[in-house]
Amino acid sequence: MKNFQIIRALSSGSAVTNISKESSAMFIAGGTNLVDLMKKNVTAPDKLIDINGLDLKKIEFLKGKVSIGALAKNSQVAEDSSIKEKHPLLALALAAGASQQIRHMATVGGNMFQKTRCSYYYNTDMPCNKRNPKSGCGAIGGANRMHAIFGASESCIAVHPSDMCVALAALDANVLVEGPKGKRQIKFTDFHRLPGNTPEKDTTLENKELITSVEIPDNNFTKNVHYLKVRDRTSYAFALVSVAVALDLKNNVINNVRLAMGGVAHKPWRLTEAEEFLKGKTVSEEIFKQAANLAMKGAKSYGDNDFKLTLAPNAITEALTIAASK
C-alpha cells in the first residue's frame, strides 16, 4: 500500500479542521473496511485522521430517544442490555453482521460507510463506475448474484452491504453530523443514496463532515421484531436478501409497522407502501403475502440475481410471520 500519514484527532472540531486541509484525507475509526480497501489499492488516501480518541462512544438514553455515539463498537451496541430491551431489532441486525472479531472493531459510524461488496469495485483491473467514474459497470452483464433489484441505474447495480443500517432505516433513525459549516441532522433514510449517474457517491454527507452520533426515537417495537438474513452460509457472509421487521401488535391487529430490506439496493430499502398497506390489518399469512407483493413493485433483476425476485417476497413474508409469532 501507498505510504500515508496518520494523525490522531483530539476533538471532533479538530478532526474536521484537519481533514479540511487535505484533499485526499480520510477519517479512520475501526478500519475494518478501509484498511482492506487500502491494501487492495482501491482507496489510497495520503492522510488518515484517526478519530478513535474522540469521546463518541456512549450510548445514552435521553428523553424520547436514544443517542448512540458514532464510535460505539458494533458489539458494544449489540450487547447493550437497554438496546436489546428497547430496540431489539437493532441488536439482532448487528449480531447478524460480519464476525465477532470484526464487530469488536467496527463502529456505528464506520458501518454506515461500508463499501459495497461488488467484486468489480474491489478489483482495480476491472471496470467500475463507483471506483473509477466513466469506466463502465462490470456487474451489468457480469457476475451479479449479489446485486440490486431496486433503484439501480445503468451506471451501477451495486448494493449496500450493511445489516445495521437496514435496522436503523426501519427505526426512523437520524444521523448527527459535524462539518466545516457546523452541525446538522440527516434522516437515516436520506443518508444513503441511489447510484444514478454518480455511483461514486454513496451518501448525502457533504465533503469533510463527520458523523458524531445516531439517534433513534422511542417506539413500541420491543417484542414483535425480526431481522431475517438470507445468505450463502450461516455466519460471516453478506446478505443476499435481508428483511428488518418491527410490528406493534394489539390483539393481532397491526397498530404500527416498519419494514426495510438489505441486499437489494444501493441503500437500505424501506418498504413504505407495504407498511401503509399493513397498518390496521389483522395478522395473517395472506396479508403478509400481499404486502410482500406490493413491496416488489418496480423490482428488476440482472441475470445471476433473478432468484431475488422470488426470494425477496418470500423473505418478507417469512420475516413478518416470525415477527408476528414472537
Partner: protein, 734 residues
Amino acid sequence: MSKTSNINRVDGFAKVTGSATYSAEYKTPGVVYACLVGSTIAKGRIKTIDTKKAEWAPGVLAVITHLNVDKPVGYQKAKDKHNFGQPLQIFKDDSVLYYDQPIALVIADTFERMQYAASLIKADYFKEEHSTELKKAADKEKKVDTDKGNDYHRGIQDGYKNAEVILEAEYTIPTEVHNPMELANIIAKWEGNKPILYTKSQGVEGTRKSVAGVFGIQAEDVEVHSEYLGGAFGMGLHTWPYEIAALIGAKKLNRPVKLVLHREQMFTNVGFRPYTIQKMGLGATKAGKLTGLTHEAVAMTSSYEDFMEGTVNMSRFIYDCENVSTRYRIIPLDTCTPIWMRGPGEATGSFALECAMDEMAYKLNLDPIEFRKLNYAEKDLEQNKPWSSKYLLECYEGGMERIGWKNRKNEPGSVKEGNWLVGYGMGTGTFGCYRSPTSVKAKFLPDGNLVLQCSVNDMGPGTATMMTAIGAEITGLPVENVIIEMGKSGLPKGPTQGGSATTSSVGSAVHDSCNLLVSKALELATQNPTFKGIAITDLTFANGLIAAKNDNSKSIALTSLLAENKLEGLEVENLSKGAEEAKKYSIYSFSVHFVKVLVNPNLGKIRLAHVVSCADIGTVINQKTSAGQMYGGAVGGIGMGLMEALEIDHRFGRPINNNFADYHVPVNADIEKQEVFFVNKKDPISNPMGTKGLGETALVGMAPAIANAVFNATGKRVRDLPITLDKIIETVKV
C-alpha cells in the same frame, strides 16, 4: 485397542502455542522480501512492462521480469509441454497464459516497501482471445493416451442402453480451490551452487527433484525444509513458479529471499480442482440389478500441461455390473494448471455416480441403500481380484443407525419438522490404498530415547503422531520417549504426502525399522553376561528394559547396555517395500456419508441437521487424529456440496471471488451435528499394521449425500454444484 491408539497429537502443543516453525517463519539473517506481480489479462503477450518507478522506489533491491531474468539452465532442456510436472517456466518469455500469471518479481528490504513498489509496475499487452469456459470449448476436447486417459470397456460397450430401466443425466462441478490457511510461502537462499529452501511442500524429495531439474543441478544438492504445514490439501504436490521465482531472486541478490503469496494469488497460481462435466448412463433390471454403467467426464486443464485425475475410475469397480464403459477427456483452457485436491478424481466422480445411483433407485422405487446392496461387488471386477478386505456393509449399517435412516420416506417432501422439509441422503466413497518404498532410520540414544527419522512431512493428518505410536508399540517404549525428525532433506527418504498413502508407507517403514532395531538390541544383549546361555528368542524388550522371559531377576536397562558397550547409540536404517502378496488383491478404503437436511423451500435455506461419516480404513492407528481427518474431510465435502465455486467472469477470463469473504467454505454454524465412525478392522493384506487410507475417502461421497438428501426433502434434483439457495427456490424472471 492398543495403548497408543488414543494418544494426543505429538506436535499439538507446538502448533497451538505458536512455537512450530512454518516455512516463512524461519529466522534467516539478511532476509529480504519479495512478491509477484500478476498479469491483468488472461492471454496474450507483454508489449511493454514499466518497472522504472518500482526500481527507483525506496528500498527496492531488484525487479525481475522476462526481460532481465537470468534464465535457469533447465529452461533450455525442458521437455515438451505434455510432460506432467512441467510447470509454467516463470519469466521465460513475454507470453501470458492465464490471468494473474506472474510477470514480475519485486524484492525490497522491507515487506511494506516491497508491496508499495509492486503496485507501481504497469504492463501493456498484445491481447489475444482467451478461452476460460469449459462449456464453450468443446471443440478443443482431447483424449490423452495414458492410463487415466484411455477408454475402458467391460462387457458390452455402453451396455446400459439395452437395459429395462435407463437413467441418463449430466452433472457439473465447478472449479474449487485448496486455499489452506497457511499461504504458499518460501524462504530461498543459495550456498554457492546449492539452493536451500524453506517451503510449503507435501514432498521434500519431489521438490528437490523439480528444483534440480530447473537449475540443472543434482537433487542431492538441493536442501529442502518443510517441517510444518498449515494445511495443503494437494496444492503442495507441485513445485510452483513462485518457488522458482524466489530462487531466481535469491541467486541474483545472493541473499535469502522470502516470498509469501497473497490470498488472491492462492486462487490463481497454485492449482485447483478442475471444473468437470460428467455424463452418466445407468441401466438396470426392474428388480434393481445394474446391468450397465457408463461414466464420461470432460475436465479442464491448462494450455501448457495435461492434468488428469481418476474421475471415472470408481465407476469401474464399486458396484457389481457386467457392462461398464468409462471415457475421460480434457480441454485446455487459459488458466493455471489444476492439481490434485483432496479426494482427487474420486470426489468429482462420486458426485456423478452416487447421485445417479440415487436417481436410479427412485426410478426403481427402491431404498437407495437397498439398491446398492443389490449391486454389492463381492470382488473387484475391474482388476478381477478379491478385495483385501471390505467392510462397506458395516459402514452402511453404522450410518443408517446413527442418522436414523428408518425415519426416511422414499417419497420426496413427505417428512416435515415444523415448517422444515426433512430429507435423508447418502453417498459412497472409496480410494485406493497405496504404499511407496520408504526409508526410516530408527535409533536408540544413550539416554534410552528412540529417534525416528524420515524426510516425509506432515501437512496436518498427524504423521508424526502416527510414527510415534507405531514406534512406541513396537519398541514398548512410552510415547514420551519417541523423538520424530521429519520434513527435511538429508533424512532417510520418505514419500510425498498424498493419495492417503502416508501411514501405509511410512508407518510400515517405522514398523520394520523398529522391529529390526529391537532385534539388534536383543542381539547385543545376548552377548551380555546377564543373559549368558539365554537365546535371543527368550528375551523381551519393554519400557526400555531387556529381560529374560522366564526369569524376572535377569534384566538390564537399554541405557546400561549401551553404556557398557560404550555405544553412542544403536541404529537401523531400512528401506520398506510392499509385499508381492499384496499384488494379488485389490486394496481400497471405503466410506459412506449420511446426511439429514432440513430445507425451507421458500428461502432455499438448507440446514445440515446431522452428518454421519463412516469409514472402513483398516486398523485405526490413532482415534483422535483419524477422527480429526474424517471431520475435516467431511467438512470439505460439505463445502463442495453447498458452497465452493471459483466464479470466473469469462469476458475477462478472471476470477471474481478470489478472496475468503466471497469464496465460501463452511463455518461451524453450518453443521448442527456431526459424527464419525470407523469400522476399525485390520486389513490382512495391505501392510504390517493392516491400515488402509483415510485422508481422501473422508471427503469422497459427501457432496452426493447432500444432493440426494436435498432431493429427498424437496423433490429438486440439483446436478450442478454447489447447491446454493437459488437452485432450490422457484425462479421467475420478471
